[in-house]
């Protein structure tokens, strides 16, 4: 449904995305995962025909993003990272407005947005600028869906939204997927990667890896340890100074650590740290998460 081939784009000296290729199948939720500045927004804006790439080709639903941009605009729904609806129009007016510019009506496609819109309908006379974050997001999604798009492009839809609303939002995406809509979503949150069918890990304008979240984790074969001690600050310094450490980073209340060779055992870390006078030491094996995979791939770059 979406086909990206060797896309590159730079702003003056900054290379925003370089040589990105991937494919999104029909009915898939595809996640672009990566920190701020990874090039997710630039890539999405190219796909949304708002930006012209320097190199490479891309198609959305079979239409070229440069030649057939008009057709793409009719069949794709877009929710930019920043809330971009009219703050001084009411919920209802916004929805009607976007329905009209897409040459349709709210009634015609009500079925598609019903589940989402019903939650904000009690506030339909309220100005969009006066809505809470979660409600704004629902309104933006409703507006992006009003013309019954085949592809939905969502740029960091859950950034700045509370945990409950985030979960609700992903439930909504699953329902939309069930209706056959292809979804391209970007997020800086690694835990959301598991909710996608496939993800592309992005860093500094490049794609590090593309796979299903399960495969990404399965393919991570290195031994990973969680380590904790009384003085975490000292711990991270000591562990990074240790010659057998490949890399270590804070992950919640623990440090996630890998050895520079796969045969570095937990006991080796333990004895090194005891020697460094750490108390209340805990060292144990863990299963990697997407974030570990990401950190690992980033380390390779």
């Amino acid at each position: 449904m979406i086909n990206v081939q060797h896309i590159s784009k730079s702003y003056k000296e900054i290379q925003a995305v370089s040589d990105i290729s991937f494919e999104v199948k029909k009915g898939e939720i595809f996640g672009l995962i990566g920190p701020d500045g990874a090039g997710k927004t630039t890539l999405m804006r190219i796909l949304m025909t708002l930006l012209i790439q320097d190199e490479g080709q891309a198609t959305m639903g079979g239409f070229d993003v440069i030649k057939d941009y008009k057709k793409i605009r009719k069949m794709v729904g877009y929710m930019p990272g920043r809330f971009s609806l009219y703050q001084d129009l009411t919920v209802e007016e916004n929805l009607n407005f976007f329905a009209t510019v897409f040459q349709t009506t709210v009634e015609e496609n009500y079925e598609l947005i019903k589940d989402i819109y019903i939650q904000i309908e009690p506030f339909k006379k309220r100005l969009a600028g006066k809505l809470s974050g979660g409600m704004k997001q629902k309104l933006a999604l409703s507006c992006a869906l009003i013309h019954k798009p085949e592809i939905l492009v969502l740029d960091e839809p859950t950034t700045g939204v509370d945990a409950v609303s985030r979960k609700e939002f992903w439930d909504m995406l699953k329902k939309l997927q069930a209706k056959g809509i292809t979804i391209l979503v970007s997020t800086p949150y690694m835990d959301e990667a598991n909710l996608c069918n496939r993800v592309a890990l992005m860093q500094k304008g490049k794609v590090l890896n593309i796979d299903t979240p399960q495969k990404l984790v399965e393919n991570y074969t290195r031994k990973l340890y969680a380590i904790r001690a009384n003085d975490m600050h000292q711990l991270i310094q000591d562990i990074r100074a240790y010659e057998k450490t490949d890399y270590a980073y804070a992950f919640g209340q623990y440090l996630h650590v890998t050895g520079n060779e796969d045969d570095v055992e937990a006991t080796e870390f333990e004895s090194y740290l005891i020697q460094k006078n750490h108390t209340k030491l805990e060292v144990f094996d863990i299963h990697p998460t997407i974030e570990d995979v990401f950190m690992d791939r980033m380390g390779e770059q």
């Binding site: 012209i52 971009s84 609806l85 407005f97 009209t100 510019v101 897409f102 040459q103």
Partner: protein, 372 residues
């Protein structure tokens, strides 16, 4: 078509909800018409004249009285020392100093001629010139009769004389407010149109709504039309409102056809709004729009002939003014409202506005891109 209508409706709703904008739309015409028209007057009255009469003769006193009796002059003070007068000029207490030398009357009788000195503050050049010519004409009249007086003859009349009888057409009473009002109205319409249109597009950029709009299949022309039509309507409303105030408050005669005023007004506004939109397609913030718009406003207005007649500008400036829409519209306003000119008298202005308007509009549509 439905899209355009809805974009227009959206624009009106936004204006309606914007309290500042609403206040501007209602207050600006009232303030401009009620304050500017009265204040921006060129009528010169009450020039302060400082008199130094060193003669103190019957003739010199008569001259002073004649001047005092004129509506243009008020004798602010007098002294025997001309330096006092100069000081008053410096302090801006007097606009003019009249120095009558001693021996004034004697010279007049013995030599049949005498001189007086007029010192004029020429900081304001046009006021100085007018003041001088008023004073000169008072003294000339005085001069004409004085010889006759002595010789005991009736008022001196040369045997042959060309009499100039002048009549001021189109504004018979030289009512300055009538001259100013149509000009101020032209400014009003320009101000409202240029700022509203400029702001509305760049606001969409600042708030990011343009991003959402750009991914819709809305056509450039629909979008631009949706921005133009509401603001043309608002500016025309202000034009009507301003004309009504002018009619009611200072009884402005509206000689020509109102249809013509409003018809050409629409044409003019298309150009002005096109310029506003063009500026806001180039700018990124409302602040930038403000600065650039202000720059254009200043040039358009000062070159437009509101205060200074364009006919007396240097030749090159008059050529440049052909590209100034305010100049043409101000002429249209004055010609139609005060003289009752018809369309055929305004072909030149009409053509110019068509060219200027389509240029700005094409620029705006061309520069407004849905892709960056």
């Amino acid at each position: 078509m439905r899209t355009i209508l809805y974009v227009i409706q959206k624009e009106f709703i936004q204006v309606k909800r914007n309290k500042t904008m609403l206040r501007m739309i209602l207050m600006v015409p009232m303030m401009q018409m009620l304050i500017l028209v009265f204040a921006a007057t060129y009528d010169i009255k009450n020039l302060n004249i400082f008199v130094v009469d060193n003669d103190l003769s019957a003739t010199s006193r008569k001259l002073v009285n004649t001047i005092d009796a004129s509506p243009f002059f008020t004798i602010s003070n007098s002294s025997f020392n001309p330096e006092e007068g100069e000081k008053e000029l410096l302090r801006n207490k007097a606009n003019m100093v009249l120095v009558i030398p001693s021996e004034f009357e004697r010279n007049l009788i013995r030599q049949d001629k005498a001189s007086v000195q007029l010192l004029i503050n020429a900081i304001d050049g046009s006021a100085a010139q007018l003041g001088y010519s008023y004073a000169a004409s008072v003294i000339r009249d005085f001069n004409k009769n004085i010889i006759a007086d002595w010789k005991g003859l009736p008022e001196f009349k040369p045997p042959y004389q060309i009499n100039t009888v002048s009549r001021f057409w189109y504004n018979t009473e030289l009512e300055y407010k009538w001259y100013m009002a149509p000009g101020i109205l032209a400014i009003l319409v320009t101000l409202i149109g240029l700022f509203l249109s400029g702001m509305s597009l760049v606001k969409e950029k600042e708030l990011g709504t343009i991003e959402q709009l750009n991914v819709t299949p809305i056509k450039k022309i629909q979008f631009i039309a949706g921005k133009l039509i509401p603001f043309i309507a608002i500016a025309l409303f202000d034009l009507a409102f301003g004309l009504l105030i002018a009619r009611l408050v200072f009884n402005l005669p509206i000689v020509g056809s109102l249809w013509l005023v409003f018809g050409l007004g629409v044409l003019y506004l298309v150009g002005i709004l096109g310029l506003g939109l063009f500026i806001s397609t180039v700018a990124h913030t409302q602040q930038q729009v403000m600065f650039v718009t202000y720059f254009f406003m200043m040039i358009f207005l000062l070159m437009g002939g509101i205060f200074t007649p364009v006919d007396s500008m240097p030749h090159w400036a008059q050529i440049v003014d052909e590209a100034n829409p305010v100049y043409h519209f101000m002429r249209i306003m004055r010609m139609v409202v005060l003289k009752g000119s018809g369309f055929s008298d305004l072909i030149h202005e009409f053509t110019a506005l068509c060219i200027i308007g389509s240029t700005f509009l094409v620029l705006a549509v061309w520069r407004y891109k849905k892709t960056t």
